[in-house]
């Protein structure tokens, strides 16, 4: 009876210990495999009253990277739309040089 009690106590303690250690381990595994997804939006008001809307959803292992990729993607698309109209985009946009673009 005493042996049985000791056996059950051992099982209970080990289960608790396993559970306690497993939780943060599972979290860290999830962190390393999960991706952060960010969407960046942009709208350009054409002088003729029309609009172009851009949205870019990008995923990366870090949120900072996903944010940067989404913002770059949005700016490039807006730059493209602005330049296709014959206008020079605002310097606040991260636009590549004109030579890298092809007019439609």
């Amino acid at each position: 009876m005493k042996k049985l009690f000791i056996f059950f106590m051992a099982v209970a303690v080990s289960t608790f210990a396993f559970a306690s250690s497993e939780t943060p381990l599972a979290k860290s595994i999830l962190k390393s495999v999960s991706k952060c997804t960010v969407t960046a939006y942009g709208t350009y008001h054409y002088p003729n009253g029309n609009n172009v809307d851009v949205s870019c959803t990008k995923s990366a292992s870090s949120c900072a990277q996903a944010q940067a990729d989404a913002a770059n993607c949005r700016d490039l698309n807006v730059c493209n739309a602005v330049r296709s109209f014959g206008l020079e985009p605002s310097p606040t946009l991260n636009c590549p040089k004109v030579s890298e673009f092809e007019n439609p």
């Binding site: 969407t39 939006y41 709208t43 008001h45 002088p47 003729n48 009253g49 029309n50 609009n51 172009v52 809307d53 851009v54 949205s55 870019c56 959803t57 990008k58 995923s59 990729d69 770059n72 993607c73 490039l76 698309n77 493209n80 739309a81 330049r83 296709s84 109209f85 014959g86 206008l87 092809e102 007019n103 439609p104």
Partner: protein, 247 residues
Amino acid sequence: MKKLIRLFVFFLMFFIPASRVCAFSDGDSVIKIIYKRSYNNPPFPESTNNQYIIIDGNKSYCLFGEGVRGKDGKIGARVDLMKDFGNHTLYFMGPMIPEYTVNDYWSDSLPAMHWTIVNQFTTIKNNYCQKAVTNFRGREYTAFFALNIPIQDGPWKFCGLPGLIVKLGDSKGIYNFEMTSFEKVPNEYNLGIGKENGDYSLYKPLFKKWHLRRLEKDKARREADPNCLDCGEGVTVRYTFIENLLD
């Protein structure tokens, strides 16, 4: 009684031209109007910008930005649109690169829309306003014009009401304009437009062709390099036209 009727007709003759004022002229001054333009087309977030209008004599200039003062002390700005009330013609910028640049303009009728004035009144920013509605090139608009400001102008192509348009929006809530400032300022502007290439009926099919070619080129570029930074599954580029140019 006859004398009274004659007197009434005499005053009426003065009243009619006064109520049809469509321009402003006061020597060295111009009227500067600022409209807050809101664009709300879900799922994209709402965005706003300002539309600046300068009324100088018979001409009204809709500017792209507030303008920049040059070395000569004059303020210059790219003109999106000019309403020439003297010639009943509107000119708008319509680049289609590479054939037509930002210096190429196209003409349109003035006013370009037919209004129905409704018997509804309200006060907006201390202006006593009346309601008017129109269906213009694919969108239904409601406007409120100021009965106390007899200037037949408004934002973008909108004009032709007995008073200045102080608020305007389409039935879907996508395009909205609201006057935020109206003032008389010294005429320090040096404004003008480029070459006129034709009227709206010529511009529309050319724009459609150009726009579709632009979309095809962009599609081809994205297909050639699916991993480019501005490409991929999560990328959406959507064009919205205030007037239906793709019919």
